[in-house]
Structures are given as structure tokens and as C-alpha cells.
């Protein structure tokens, strides 16, 4: 269970990017966060694992306050927060297996990390998860030799290696073609229920958000203006979130039964 309350983030002296956000996410639910570029989606996600420092407010993961953690406690907390990135952020020059095992870096010591002497249980878990998403045969390939969809699977497996209590996905499909991005959405959705994880997905593609998630949260200018079931996400909500903002046409109202190309 992840509870965000009155979260504010301000860069320098500018207008805050997040203006007092409140959000509670139950275990086992997939939440889509939609909003135009600059609405604060990415900042919100990064505040949760403190890649971005919140200005004020509170974020609690299963009762642990994340905002005040420092150094060792912060790293311990980050182990429980898996993150999947838009650009995959794999270590290109390392093998797929090394990338996957990197998800355990918060658990092993420096010597184990440098010499790649990971515990046998970690290696077993890595193989199980890679088989689950169909990339086990790439274990010894270099990460930059894989296709986009395969690389994002590596990214997802790396996050799952952390044994996370929450999974954050920052536009995980925006760098992928439509077909592959659907596969990744299906994967995230089914993993959430298999592992009973709360999953927060920043997403530009409203159609995919409606199809693959249980709940949609709409942000505009750092404020939450929609929170409800995908079925309630209608034209008015769409207009409220994207309306009057330049160039929203790519995402505007694709027919819900057929997923159209979500242009990155």
C-alpha cells in the first residue's frame, strides 16, 4: 500500500511542478497516471524513489515514511521500489544477465557486485523471471544487441529482481512500437496480479491506459483532476486533462476497442 499525501515539488523558485498531491494505491492494483507533458507525472514517480527530492509532503510505503530517509535507509527503501524507464536504461555494454542481476545491487556487497559473485538464489530467480518473460536464451548477449521490446523486458525483470513492494513504470511503452508496447502493458498487468504488487504507470497512450489498468489518475499542472475507473474516463475527463494544451492530437480519443499507435 502506497500513500502519498500533500506532495509538493518545486524546482528552484519556479511555480511548483506538484501542488499538494494526494494518492493512495492499494496492493494488487494497476494505476495509470495520464497527463500532458510537463503535468508532473514523471516528477511524481521519481519523488517516490527519491530520484527527485520532494520539497514537502509525505510518501508512505507499507507504513514506512520515504521522504525523510537518508543514506543507508534510503537505499534500503529503494530496494523495495522497482522502476521501469522509458529509455530502458539498461547498461548497454553488460550482458542481459548482468543487467538483470543489477536488480540485486541493493542486497549484495560491493565485492560480490564487482566480481559478479551473486548468491545462487539470485541467479536462480533471475533465470525463473527471464523464462517468465521469454528472454532466458539471451542471458549472455550484450544488452544493446536486443530489440526494444526485449530490452524493456530486461528492464522489467531487473525491477522484479529487487523483490519490490511497488513497481513504478515511467512511460514504459513510449519508446516501443504499438504491438510491442501492448505486450509490455499485458506483462505489467499480469505481473501485478501474480505478485500482488501495486503498479503505477505513467502513460501517454490513453487507450492503453483504459484497456490495461484498473484505475486512471489524471494530472494537469501538478494537480490531480481525475481519479476513477477506466470506464468513467470519458470525453470530458480527456478534455479536462489535455484540453487547450498544444498538440494533444496524437492521444486524443482513439476508439477504445482498438488500440491505436501511441506516438512517443
Amino acid at each position: 500500500m502506497l500513500v502519498i499525501s500533500n506532495l509538493i515539488k518545486r524546482y528552484g523558485r519556479d511555480e511548483p511542478v506538484l501542488k499538494g498531491l494526494d494518492l493512495a494505491v492499494e496492493d494488487n492494483s494497476v494505476v495509470a497516471i495520464v497527463g500532458a507533458s510537463g503535468a508532473g507525472k514523471s516528477t511524481m514517480l521519481r519523488c517516490i524513489n527519491r530520484l527527485v527530492e520532494p520539497t514537502s509532503g509525505s510518501i508512505k510505503l507499507n507504513g514506512t515514511e520515504l521522504v525523510t530517509l537518508r543514506h543507508r535507509e534510503l537505499r534500503r527503501a529503494r530496494r523495495k521500489i522497482g522502476m521501469v524507464f522509458q529509455g530502458f536504461n539498461l547498461i548497454d555494454r553488460l550482458t542481459v544477465m548482468e543487467n538483470v542481476l543489477a536488480g540485486r545491487l541493493g542486497y549484495v556487497n560491493l565485492f560480490q557486485a564487482i566480481t559478479r559473485r551473486y548468491p545462487a538464489a539470485d541467479i536462480e530467480r533471475a533465470f525463473v523471471l527471464m523464462e517468465r518473460v521469454g528472454i532466458a536464451h539471451y542471458a549472455n548477449k550484450r544488452a544493446d544487441e536486443l530489440s526494444g521490446g526485449e530490452r524493456q523486458r530486461v528492464g522489467v525483470v531487473r525491477a522484479l529482481m529487487q523483490e519490490p513492494e511497488v513497481l513504478l513504470a515511467d512511460e514504459p511503452t513510449a519508446s516501443l512500437d504499438p504491438r510491442t508496447s501492448e505486450q509490455i502493458m499485458v506483462l505489467l498487468q499480469s505481473l501485478a496480479s501474480e505478485l500482488s504488487l501495486p503498479v503505477l504507470i505513467n502513460i501517454h497512450n490513453v487507450a492503453q491506459a483504459r484497456t490495461y489498468t484498473d484505475r486512471i489518475v489524471g494530472l494537469r499542472h501538478g494537480t490531480m483532476i481525475f481519479d476513477g475507473a477506466p470506464s468513467d474516463f470519458d470525453k470530458d475527463a480527456l478534455e479536462a486533462i489535455y484540453g487547450g494544451i498544444e498538440a494533444p492530437e496524437d492521444e486524443a480519443a482513439p476508439p477504445p476497442e482498438e488500440v491505436r499507435d501511441g506516438q512517443a
Binding site: F85, N89, I91, D92, R93, L110
Partner: protein, 272 residues
């Protein structure tokens, strides 16, 4: 941009020219004028003594003449000198390249806190601010004639050069990989080993090869001021008016540099 132009004269074909490198015409032509003025002043005021130059030319011809044909009569001397130079260059490169990594990390603004960054930059700037010959003179004074002075000199030289370029490389890495490692809960050093080092590895290998080249060349120069190696042999040959042997040494130096350049180019291509 071209539109208003087009509306004024719809019939004529539109033209385009590359924008000048320096946009302001005053600055552009001003710089040319300043350059011309400098050249006139420099040539007018530097003392070129044409008489002495014309006297010196026959002497130069004599030295060159004495150098031909080059002779390898003292091959053993040449060999000892070169072995020592090679040892100096390789040891200094190894030490310098290894030590340049921590200093480069310290001197990269994106991963080092400000005080550490300033310290790292200071070390690199100081080791870069003197030419190896000057550093060699200092070290020869400090530790005496011989290869140790050469090794210390070239190590410092390598730290400065490799450290600076490596720090710049670190500042340009893909930050996403660092974010990804941080978000797994990895500590600072683990993040460094996983997210930073793989990204700078090809560059580091290339720089090391280049530095080996450069140290080979420099080891000949620092030898001249007494820091051991082929430079000392060369200096002695000149001192004894053994021009034919000195020329042989120069030719071998060229050959060795060419060979090392070829090898380093090949290795750099392989590692990429």
C-alpha cells in the same frame, strides 16, 4: 524565416546561403584585421638575424652529411636505451592510467560533490600545467639521474592528460543508467562500477593506447634532461659528434612510434 522575403518578391527564386560562422560582421572583419596587424607586428619586431641564419645553414648541412649513412655500429647501446625507454613508458602508462581513474571520478561534476570536484580538478590542472621536460628536470633534481625520474614524470603527465579527458567523458555519460542503478538501492561505488565504468571503458582503453604512444615519444625527450632511456643515449651520441649513430637512433625512434601507432589503432578498433 524565408517567408517575408518571398512575399515581397514572389516571382524571383528564393536563395539561401550558409550563415557566417561569426554572425556579427563587425566582429568577423575585426578579427581578420587584428590578425593581420599582429602578423605585421610580430614579423617586424622579432629579431631574425639573417646573417647568422645563412652562416648556420652550411653547418646544418655538415651535421646532416655526417649523419649519412646512419650506422648501427653501437647496436647494444641502442638496444639498452630502447629497452629502458620502453620500460619507462609502459610502467608510467600503467601507473598513470590506473591513477587517472580515481582522479577523473573526483573531477567529474556530475558524480562528485563540489569540494571533491575542486580537489580533483586541482590535481589534474597542476599535473597538466608543466611540460614533461620541466617536470623531468624537477624529478631528476629530486631523485637523481635515471629511469625513476622518467617514470615519475610520465606518470604525472599521464594522470593529467588521461584524467582530464576521462572526467569529461564521465560528465557526458547517459544519466539514465545511473538513475536505474540508484533506483535498485545500489550504493555509490556499486553505481560507479555498474553504471559509469562500462560507459567509459572504450574511451579509457583508447586513451590508454594513445597515452602509451605519447609516453614512448615523451620518454625519449625526458631522457635528454637525464631521466634515462633512449633520450640519454641520443644526447650522448650528439655530445660525441657521433652523428651517424644519432641519426640511426632517430630513425629507430620513428619506426617504433609508427609501429606503436599501428598497434594502438588496431586495438582501439577491436575494443569498440
Amino acid at each position: 524565416m524565408a517567408r517575408p522575403d518571398n512575399e515581397e518578391s514572389p516571382g524571383t527564386p528564393r536563395t539561401w546561403r550558409k550563415p557566417p560562422f561569426i554572425a556579427n560582421p563587425l566582429v568577423r572583419y575585426g578579427l581578420l584585421v587584428v590578425l593581420a596587424a599582429y602578423l605585421v607586428w610580430a614579423f617586424g619586431s622579432l629579431p631574425f638575424n639573417w646573417e647568422r641564419i645563412s652562416e648556420g645553414l652550411p653547418r646544418a648541412a655538415r651535421i646532416f652529411g655526417g649523419g649519412f649513412p646512419p650506422t648501427l655500429s653501437r647496436f647494444d647501446l641502442l638496444l639498452t636505451g630502447f629497452t629502458e625507454s620502453l620500460q619507462i613508458a609502459i610502467l608510467a602508462t600503467l601507473l598513470g592510467v590506473l591513477l587517472s581513474v580515481p582522479f577523473a571520478v573526483m573531477a567529474a561534476r556530475n558524480i562528485a560533490p563540489l569540494p571533491i570536484y575542486l580537489l580533483g580538478r586541482a590535481v589534474i590542472i597542476i599535473s597538466r600545467s608543466f611540460h614533461p621536460v620541466i617536470v623531468a628536470i624537477l624529478f631528476v633534481a629530486a631523485v637523481g639521474f635515471g629511469p625513476l625520474a622518467g617514470i615519475l614524470t610520465l606518470t604525472l603527465y599521464s594522470i593529467g592528460f588521461v584524467g582530464k579527458l576521462l572526467a569529461e567523458e564521465i560528465e557526458e555519460i547517459d544519466w539514465g543508467q545511473v538513475e536505474a542503478m540508484r533506483s535498485t538501492g545500489a550504493g555509490y561505488l556499486a553505481t560507479l562500477y555498474y553504471a559509469v565504468f562500462p560507459q567509459i571503458l572504450p574511451r579509457q582503453v583508447g586513451l590508454s593506447m594513445y597515452q602509451l604512444d605519447s609516453n614512448l615519444r615523451a620518454s625519449a625527450v625526458v631522457g635528454i634532461v637525464g631521466a634515462g632511456g633512449i633520450g640519454s643515449t641520443l644526447m650522448n651520441a650528439f655530445g660525441r659528434y657521433d652523428y651517424d649513430f644519432a641519426f640511426a637512433i632517430l630513425l629507430v625512434i620513428i619506426a617504433v612510434i609508427l609501429a606503436s601507432e599501428g598497434v594502438s589503432g588496431w586495438v582501439r578498433k577491436k575494443i569498440w
